[in-house]
Amino acid sequence: MARLAARRVLAAGPVLLAVTFGVFAVAAASPFDPVKAYAGTAGLTASRGDLDQLRANLGVDQPFVERWWNWLTSALTGDLGDSSALRQPVADVIAERVGWSVLLAATAFLLAVLLGTALGVLAARRGGRLDRCVSSAAYTLEAAPVFWLGLLAIWLFALKLGVLPAGGLTDTASDTVTFGQTLSHLVLPAAVLGLSQLPWFFLYVRQGVGDALAQDPVRGARARGLAERTVLTGHALRSGMLPMLTLIGSRVPELITGALLVETVFSWPGIAAATVQAATSVDFPLLAALTVLATAAVLLGNLLSDLLYGLADPRVGFDG
């Protein structure tokens, strides 16, 4: 297991390098002008000379390879640079926001895994009414874009019923972040993000456990007169869960893109808004740092799912 982890960490280096290089290359090729993005409306009356001075100050006229190298070398010494879009050090931007994104994504993920598994096990004995209802709902959900779900949730819970806030981290009139307020503001975005991920877990578990129910060990257990619940959770669930463990890792990228949309819809002050702003303002340092974070999350997700798989099924092992 340690060897697997070590190998993955070693491989992560080149992957991250390639990804940041790609980000700089793509951003340099984009038609957006960082100077214009920085100047905003003031740029409309600024003279060419002032804009040129700004261009020199921001250092955006260097070739992208040079910019990438400068960014990389200072990032390795712990200096992530300054975000031009947000006028503050990149490290501060991330520190301010990443916690809220992690909270949102973790809550949603937990919700999707737990609820998806529970429903999947219940629906595994196919053909029941529960199975039919939940399965068709899951297929529908899978097809629904997450931002649309978000808008629908706002319309229903915030506008029509008025029971939950439509967005933000706290009530508009409040200037302090309290546990209760955050909790009530977290409900809708986390539920929407969780629901959008739920069908995958549900369908995998349902399939896996359903297949396991038809296999010999389960038949044997039933024949020995074990209680149905013991058969389901003790035997079928264990082997039926295997495909889902792989899924946990591979859903991480989806979770990140989903979170971007959900944060935007619900004005959640996470890293999503910063990511969008960084991209459209060609804010290299911020964009690169956020990309590294996202890539690292994906790599970690993959590692996690492989480790879990190895734990759940000793036959797979950690070197496979």
């Binding site: 409306t41 100050n57 933000g168 480790l307």
Partner: protein
Amino acid sequence: MTARSIRATAAAVLAGVLAIGAAACSSPGGTGRQGAKDAAVVGIAYEPETLSPLLGYGKDGNSKLFDGLLAFDADMKLRPALATALPEVSADRLTYTYKLRQGVRFSDGKPFSAKDVVFTYTRILDPKTNNPSKGELDAVKSVEAKGDDTVVFTLGYPYAPFAERTVLPVVPEHVAARQDVNSGAFSGAPVGTGPYTLVKWSKGEKITFAANPSYWGGAPAVKKFTMAIIKDDDVRATRLRAGDLDGAILPPNLARTFRNDEGRKTYAAKTYDYRNVTLPTANKVAGDTAVRQALDLAVDRRAMVDRILDGAGKPAHGPVPTGSEWFAAGTERPHDLTRAKAILDAAGWKPGADGIREKDGVRAAFPLWYLSGDKLRQDHALAYASDAKKAGLDITTQSGTWEVIEPRMKQDAVLAGGGSPGDPDFDQYNLLKSTLAGDGFNNMASYADATVDRALDDARKSGDRAVRKSAYDTIQRELVKNPGYTFLTHVDHLYVVNDRWSGLTTQVEPHDHGLAFGPWWNVEKWAPKK
């Protein structure tokens, strides 16, 4: 490592993650929602990039957190703020002397003095400072402190509206000098002398202000003021209706839905915010004076105001709004399609087979670009093209981002916007001066007219109001004879506010969006109604 110990490790890691998540969402102290009488929450559509005046925040005055040497009142007349009086101007108009108010303190308790003023201006003019508006202080040659209470500006050339530029906020040297001007913490945690102090700026969500109890102008009655940043117009309207907001800026169609609301009032702020069409001189069709004159007469400005702006605006006959004291009476150009056609006929633009005019084999056609996603500009562009068609001119509207539009600006027409109420020089010099043709977004039409150039310089140099007025009259009349732009409308900005306070007014507003505009431009003067 055994499977058991691995399981234990995994459980510990999971528990750790959950603990971090839980810790992230709890913070000490805090109260629930405060519907107090002395608190106000407003919804705005725009978020500033920075709260540091050194980077351009509050340059047009009214920054809530800061004061300038001078400030604008509701009629855009200058009045003293951190200065005790309007500046003394030397006879050659090159030296401006300000006497400073004594006993003013920054919100951190440290006294304000002349060195802060000198620091603010010199730091903004420092080439290393990324302030995109520093060109507005182009006239300044040097700033000096004479003792603690006097500041002297020396200009490089006579610049009549210089005093209007000194509304820009003054920052404390003892705080701002210690950090990186472009990325330091000051940008998000400012300290000023203004009526409010910053409580918290939750980026992308809201900015919260608290009244400064020791404000030199008297403690504000609204103790807590929150600006929620809500980019979407519909969401803003909904949250206003739901009672989450006390006021909001709204587009005309949504503001109308509050018209019969007893508890809310709609304020229409008059503006200098114009929409115009640039007619590039290099374009064979749009550059032809006859075509330009014809377009000026062919557009139905009244219809645009009524239909596109829902009545909230005025026809624009030039950069100066018709209600302004700087407007040259008699330069209004009512809709007159017959005369437009006659001008084109006389200039040799004859209708071709498809009804579109031609001259010397050139078809009277050119593209008109507008910023994609901007509904107001799109409507103006479509109306303009349809009016032009009636006169036999074929204008194709196309949408794009500024990245797409900018390289085409020299050849193609653009639906542009602008306007700054401080002084006529602010708009017109950049818009019309021939030497600024194609300089950034200045003089986008590459307009060149010797009479206008001369008048712009005269108006800028002279300190005599009558001389300046006559120069700007000349420019506006010249624009009728030789238009480089078709001015369409001046757009009112609409605000819907709960009727809970007295003392609400609006200021004449510029094209720029900002925190300082709207009925809350003087929130420090509001008083709760009984």
